[in-house]
């Protein structure tokens, strides 16, 4: 049987970029965006391989919700021309509340998108103000309504925690709303690289993270990765490939891929991207080969299920120590991070480098 791949498509424009965001993106410019789509299609043509079966597609960004209808159609068509799409491919698009309308959502549903990820961030107006987002909680609610009306059931909402405006109560209110709306998946990110890294801030993050964990658990959501929660059978198949060491193809500015044991990453420089493709070269900027076992540990410890114990062969001593100290736990031959130590993920991982 042939391997199947995930396919990530990056769209690097946003209506207005957010100060806390670390993705590769820039302010929307129609001309540049059109040119970009052109080159994106060319990259797909350059890279495409009919022998490769694609079973997940993910449009991320940036704000791929801004891509115009006919461009989206064109991209999807090019994908199916140059790759082999499997029957029940999971096709996701990220969309910001301010970029969505019922018409667009219906269109997306009709042409094959079956999963949607909404950039809600919070249902609290103080939080949204702190984040300087242009949308309101009310808009998010009505967009969620439209998303459902358009026919989507596999829905994710993004949340950001770690804001000074948040408390246990505001978190509960937000998450309970999600539950009431019967949304099956949430991504909850801790705000990073914005606030000062001091003890108090870290204490707040820690508090909000574990409150989130407890609240969501009570509401019936299961944390399957550091930042991702879902009800059963609604885990993101595409994102899971990242931490299950499955292969994925990255297309577009700054996109990453993992094929044949090689991790690669496209250039983050838009003009270099154009240049390379113009020369009919793949816009890959760097490649690296990470030892398989190490990659399993680095990605797998993000998940609740954990990493098969036999991947730790090189690290017996460290593993023994971290188990003894109750930083890691062993369950059914899998090693995972103990619940209350999740926020130390990176520190723990450095023990395995």
């Amino acid at each position: 049987m042939k391997n199947s791949f995930g396919l990530y498509i990056h769209y690097p424009f946003c209506k207005r970029v957010c100060y806390y965001c670390h993705f590769t993106k820039q302010n929307f410019d129609k001309e540049l965006s059109d040119k970009y789509i052109d080159f994106l299609l060319k990259e797909l043509e350059l890279k495409g391989d009919k022998n490769k079966i694609i079973d997940t597609v993910y449009f991320g960004g940036g704000s791929p919700g801004l891509i115009e209808k006919d461009n989206i159609t064109e991209i999807l068509k090019t994908i199916s021309d140059y790759y082999t799409l499997s029957n029940n491919t999971e096709i996701t698009i990220e969309i910001n509340p301010e970029d969505a309308d019922l018409d667009k959502l219906r269109f997306l549903n009709k042409i094959g998108f079956n999963r949607i990820s909404i950039g809600t961030q919070s249902f609290n107006s103080d939080d949204l103000k702190y984040l300087k987002r242009s949308h309101s909680a009310g808009l998010s609610l009505s967009v969620i309504n439209d998303v459902k009306t358009a026919g989507f059931t596999n829905i994710n909402t993004d949340f950001i925690i770690g804001l000074p405006t948040q408390s246990k109560e505001t978190l509960f209110h937000g998450f309970n709303t999600v539950k009431d709306l019967a949304i099956p998946h949430l991504s909850v990110y801790v705000l990073e690289g914005v606030k000062e890294e001091n003890d108090n801030e870290n204490k707040l993050d820690e508090y909000l993270y574990f409150q989130t964990d407890a609240i969501l658990k009570n509401l019936g959501y299961f944390r399957y990765e550091v930042s991702n929660y879902s009800v059963s059978n609604y885990e993101s198949i595409h994102n899971s490939k990242y931490w299950k060491n499955k292969e994925y193809i990255g297309v577009g500015l700054s996109a990453s891929g993992y094929e044949n044991g090689i991790d690669y990453k496209n250039t983050e420089n838009l003009y270099e991207y154009f240049e390379l493709i113009k020369e009919k070269k793949l816009p890959i900027k760097e490649k690296s080969q990470i030892i398989k076992m190490d990659r399993h540990i680095i990605t797998g410890l993000r998940t609740s299920k954990g990493v098969k114990i036999n991947h730790f062969k090189k690290h017996q001593e460290t593993l023994k120590m971290l188990l003894k100290e109750q930083i890691l736990i062993e369950r059914n031959g899998y090693i995972s991070i103990k619940n209350n130590k999740i926020l130390l993920l990176n520190e723990i991982l450095t023990y395995f480098r």
């Binding site: 995930g6 990530y8 990056h10 670390h22 993705f23 993910y58 991320g60 990110y189 801790v190 990073e192 003890d199 870290n202 204490k203 993050d205 820690e206 990765e225 550091v226 930042s227 994102n239 490939k241 990242y242 931490w243 994925y248 990255g250 700054s254 996109a255 990453s256 891929g257 993992y258 991790d263 690669y264 990453k265 760097e286 690296s288 990470i290 990659r295 680095i298 990605t299 993000r302 120590m321 100290e325 930083i327 130590k341 999740i342 926020l343 130390l344 993920l345 990176n346 520190e347 723990i348 991982l349 450095t350 480098r353």
Partner: protein, 600 residues
Amino acid sequence: MSKLKNIRNFSIIAHIDHGKTTLSDRLLEITNAVTKRDMQEQLLDSMDLERERGITIKSHFVRLEYKDTRTNEDYILNLIDTPGHIDFTYEVSRSLAACEGALLVVDATQGVEAQTVANTYLAMENDLTLIPVMNKIDLASNELEKSLDQVETVIGIDREEAINVSAKTGLGIDELIPAIIDRIEPPKGDIDKPLKALIFDSWFDEYRGVIILVKIIDGKINKNDKIKFLSNNANYDVNELGVFKPAPLPLKSLSVGEVGYIIGSIKNVSEVKIGDTITHLKVNTVEPMPGFKEPQPMVFSGFYPGEGSSHEELRDSIEKLTLNDSSFKYEPETSPILGIGFRCGFLGLLHKEIIQERLEREYDLSIVTTAPSVKYRVTNKKGEVFEIESPAGLPEPQQLEMIEEPYIEAIIITPEEHLGNIIKLLQNRRGIHKKMDYISSERVHLTYDLPLAEVLYDFFNKLKSISRGYASFDYEFKEYVESPLIKLDILINGDPVDALALIVHREKAYNVGNLIASKMKAVIPKQLFEVIIQAAIHKKVIARTVVKAMRKNVLAKCYGGDISRKMKLLDKQKKGKKRMKRIGKVDIPQEAFLAALEID
């Protein structure tokens, strides 16, 4: 072959920064050894590290050729370079052994400094003719007359003999070479006697192997000769010989009075003993030259592989380093906590830093070093006497009869206005006043006996800062003296860490313990686990600090499956751990091991 009377062998000795390198460059220039354009690089300082620290570590020499216009005679002037730091006194003295004279450079804006004095003593021990050279007279701020006063009072040379120059502008340099020719004696020796040559330096060159520098005392040595070392009768073929001008210039032979290099079938620098005598294989009538003392390491420190480096890598690199630094000694040492490493002996603190930096830079190693220690002489209750180079070796108090520690004789020269603070510092460091002389109306020459151990702990920087850089310092080992010393244990999470233990004076122990505990707290980063630091004397805890466990270190977002970014991030964090050592479950950074150095 050059006539003896047309050869001069000399060195330049100076306090650091007084202009030795600049003056050497000028001499190279006026003898056309190098063009002005090549001068950009200060030529005699070859290694990167030397350049960076502005000191010369290995001795080299350069042969200058000069036509004396007064007589139309051609001269060969061998300039033998010497290191300029107090740690390397030993190397200075062996370079001086190849010379008949020396230029004593004094910065006329500063006057005579401690190293000027120490170097003068060395030169006098070697019976060298000294030519005082007063440098930097181009600077308006020069105090030529005062400096000359000091030369008369401290060095004992008449001011009339001094030559006043600016090594920078070239002013007065013309007088210098005629003075060298007129005042420094030509080497003595007999071309008709069997070969006798003195080895005064050697090093390992990556491309050429072992290179030795020799001075021919008698006779002549030719390419392809078979030679032997008198100390061990080891014999070698001379594959190449020649001189540096400053580029190596192979010759057919070196004759009496000349200085040159020899590349032979020598495998390892350890086969070469500085001060050894060379003769021809078949000769049995040559008496060895009086040898040099082996350099005695004064400062000892444990070197252990840090995170990411192995013991084997460390061993290989240390072995390679000793190839070109025979004054650096090491032996295996095992620490229950730090694992397998080496106890290393150095000439001084700077020497230690240089070795450590070379290991890290040239060999890309991660190393953790323990706080430097001197060599103590211990007598136990049974009357047995032995030496220890690390606190870990100290017997339990009930078995201990006495401890003796090395004292040095320190020379300090300072402007009078800082005298009060300097004396306070010296008292603080258990110094014993010996002598105080005014060398001019406002400069004072102090002689103190000091425990060497007290000099290891940030003494130099302290001295510089309280005198705003104006006090200078040099020292020489003096004797072992009994002292009331005790062991201060440092415990990490309840376990004593041998590598952190210190030997301190009884009266200072409490203070030192407290300072170390708080200094360590400041330098140990937060980590997965809490770190409890305790200082203890005879199992009694006298100080305690805690580094709380880390709360958060997570990049929650996995950027579109960008695992390599994640890896890079981890590697960066890991790199931050490079100079750390894992003790039990916690990581202790290098600074913590050296915390004792920065307290006071």
